[in-house]
């Protein structure tokens, strides 16, 4: 920019020079002007050799200015010309821009421009963009908290923005598909288990009738008995799977206030014969009343599975100790002298031994019930096996 200004001033100075030289031809007094004074030029007489050596040149210099009472930058043209037989040196000047002032001015303009720009960007971002993206963020938040296993309405986008509407329909289509797959999968176990009930009923009833025949020889009877046992296991397994999928599908919705000490006593009473038979001592310690609003049949399954486990995986002459606290209960039992793998025992079909009796689903059912109600179930071993259920 400064070059442009210089160029323009230089042109002016050139023009001025020509005007002055032209004037000297009409008015010789002009040649006497050896000081700037009121005019912007000086003329000095110089030697011919000097004049011939001289080329036009521009310089930036400082001159004292009356009005500013200071030295100000000027652009100066020094040239030589011939008048008659004499040679003269001509110096013309023009005040030029004050570069430091210019730079300062420019700096401030740019600074202001920048500040205004930044403020506008912030304003646009905060007010306009935020307003524009509101539907997007509300959809995003809805999606973050969306659970496919809960039957809640599909997320929606407010406003009419076409892109967001498209996003909404794509997201909803995805959710509907995922939900369908999820429910089908959940329903599968339940349906399969249901469909198995009737064939199992036919086989077991037929075999039981067959066993009643007098003509059966003992070896055949034993075979049939073994088949019946296997079918019995199958039936139990089927029932447990059905129960498990029902718990996971949340099909138990008859909450009532369950008194756990009552439940524990009932369960102990039911299992007493068996415990006595194996010489296992059951003791119950109750330090507080433990009640919870939940489905009673599930509470009963929860308690009885744990106590049953404690009795069946016990050693002869062993002990089962049940402790009921204010918001937890513990079942501790003697048993095998080694710790169980606590990361696996609650998994399905994790059997500690290869006894063909249990379904391997007892503790999985316990865990499913606890998960349903947000209880915490844990296992620990300190010479005795201990299962603890903590309620929130």
């Amino acid at each position: 920019m400064l070059d442009e200004i210089h160029d323009s001033i230089d042109d002016g100075l050139d023009n001025y020079k020509l005007l002055i030289i032209k004037r000297t031809e009409d008015d010789a007094t002009v040649l006497q002007k050896t000081d700037f004074e009121e005019g912007n030029y000086t003329i000095h007489k110089i030697a011919e050799s000097e004049a011939l050596r001289m080329r036009d040149y521009f310089t930036d210099t400082l001159l004292y200015m009356q009005n500013e009472d200071d030295l100000e930058p000027v652009r100066m043209l020094t040239s030589a010309f011939k008048h008659g037989e004499d040679y003269y040196q001509l110096t013309v000047f023009n005040s030029t821009v004050e570069e430091d002032d210019l730079i300062e001015d420019l700096f401030y303009s740019i600074l202001w421009l920048y500040i205004i720009l930044v403020i506008s960007i912030i304003l646009i971002n905060n007010v306009v963009l935020r307003k524009l993206w509101t539907p997007f963020y509300s959809l995003l938040n809805e999606l973050k908290s969306y659970r496919i296993d809960k039957n809640v309405p599909l997320p929606t986008v407010t406003g009419e923005t076409k892109e967001f509407k498209e996003l909404e329909s794509a997201v909803n289509a995805l959710i509907i598909r995922a939900r369908e797959t999820f429910y089908n999968q959940k329903k599968f176990t339940e349906n399969a288990s249901h469909e198995l009930q009737t064939p199992l009923a036919i086989i077991s009833t037929k075999l039981e009738l067959m066993l009643e025949k007098e003509s059966l020889d003992p070896a055949n009877a034993e075979n049939i008995e073994q088949i019946l046992q296997t079918i019995q296991r199958l039936t139990k397994l089927n029932k447990s799977l059905l129960l498990l999928s029902k718990i996971e599908n949340r099909q138990f919705n008859e909450p009532s206030l369950v008194d756990f000490s009552k439940l524990v006593n009932q369960c102990v009473e039911d299992l007493e014969d068996f415990a006595n038979f194996r010489n296992i001592e059951i003791s119950v310690d109750k330090s507080a009343n433990l009640t919870y609003l939940m489905d009673e049949s599930l509470a009963s399954i929860l308690v009885s599975n744990l106590i049953r486990n404690a009795i069946f995986h016990n050693i002869p002459n062993g002990k089962v100790h049940i402790i009921i606290n204010e918001n937890s209960f513990q079942v501790t039992n003697t048993g095998k002298k080694e710790e169980l793998d606590s990361s696996k025992i609650f998994d399905r079909f994790q059997k500690e031994t290869n006894t063909n009796s249990g379904t391997g689903l007892g503790l999985a059912i316990v865990q499913a019930i606890c998960k349903l109600y947000g209880f915490e179930v844990g296992y620990s071993y300190d010479r005795e096996h201990c299962f603890e259920v903590k309620m929130g």
Binding site: T198, I202, E225, F252, L271, F277
Partner: protein, 225 residues
């Protein structure tokens, strides 16, 4: 005694019929909703065994119809669905009992007998066999008029045997009936053997004219001597 069996699965219907005929009941079979509706409208039955999922309609609708027409059917629902909803609905509609498939024959027998007993209740609720009387209201057992004490489980076992007189009761059926779902592990057989041994001893010492016999090691049956 006339029983209507409403069951769409032909094979299951056949075995149930066989078993019921051993008890000398007269059994009629309806394989679908329409024939069942026709039969209950035309004839009278002492007991109706009702499947819920039927071709052509729901067993619960039949139950509703019976209630509307105030037909006394003594209905036992036999369903593959172990659903509390169905159970409550069925019992609310006047069914007497609800049995989930698969079931033991002995269990079905016991339920039917219980229905009959309730129906023909004349103030007392007793099972008379040989020289013994099992009083279900008083929960007492007498032999030749002499009272014998039985503990709770022994009483339940004997009751189950008496309603299934001359029929095989498998160890599993017995365990399930008396101890419910609590005992389903392999060593339950020794346990049941032990329980039966005790009961047998008591019966022998009481001079009761009934005996519990072992059948092939599979189960037991009670016979009158």
């Amino acid at each position: 005694m006339k029983i209507l069996l409403i069951e769409d699965e032909p094979e299951l219907a056949e075995v149930i019929r066989d078993s019921l005929e051993k008890e000398l009941y007269l059994v009629e079979h309806a394989p679908d909703y329409d024939s069942a509706m026709e039969k209950v409208a035309l004839y009278e039955y002492d007991c109706i065994l009702l499947d819920i999922m039927l071709p052509g309609g729901s067993g619960l609708d039949i139950l509703e119809e019976l209630k509307k027409e105030s037909i006394d059917g003594n209905v036992i629902i036999i369903s593959a669905k172990d659903s509390l909803d169905d159970k409550l609905k069925g019992l609310g509609l006047g069914a007497d009992d609800y049995l989930t498939k698969p079931f033991h024959i002995a269990e079905l027998n016991a339920r039917i007998k219980a229905v009959f007993r309730r129906k023909n209740l004349n103030g007392s609720n007793q099972i008379l066999t040989g020289n013994t009387v099992l009083d279900l209201n008083e929960r007492t057992f007498t032999v030749d008029g002499e009272l014998f004490s039985l503990n709770r489980k022994e009483f339940d076992i004997l009751n189950y045997f008496l309603v299934n007189k001359n029929r095989l009761i498998t160890k599993n059926a017995l365990a399930e009936h008396v101890w419910g779902d609590h005992i389903d592990q392999s060593d339950n057989f020794d346990f049941i053997y032990y329980q039966i041994k005790n009961l047998r001893k008591k019966l022998q010492s009481s001079d009761a004219k009934i005996e519990i016999q072992s059948i092939y090691g599979v189960g037991y049956k009670l016979v009158e001597l």
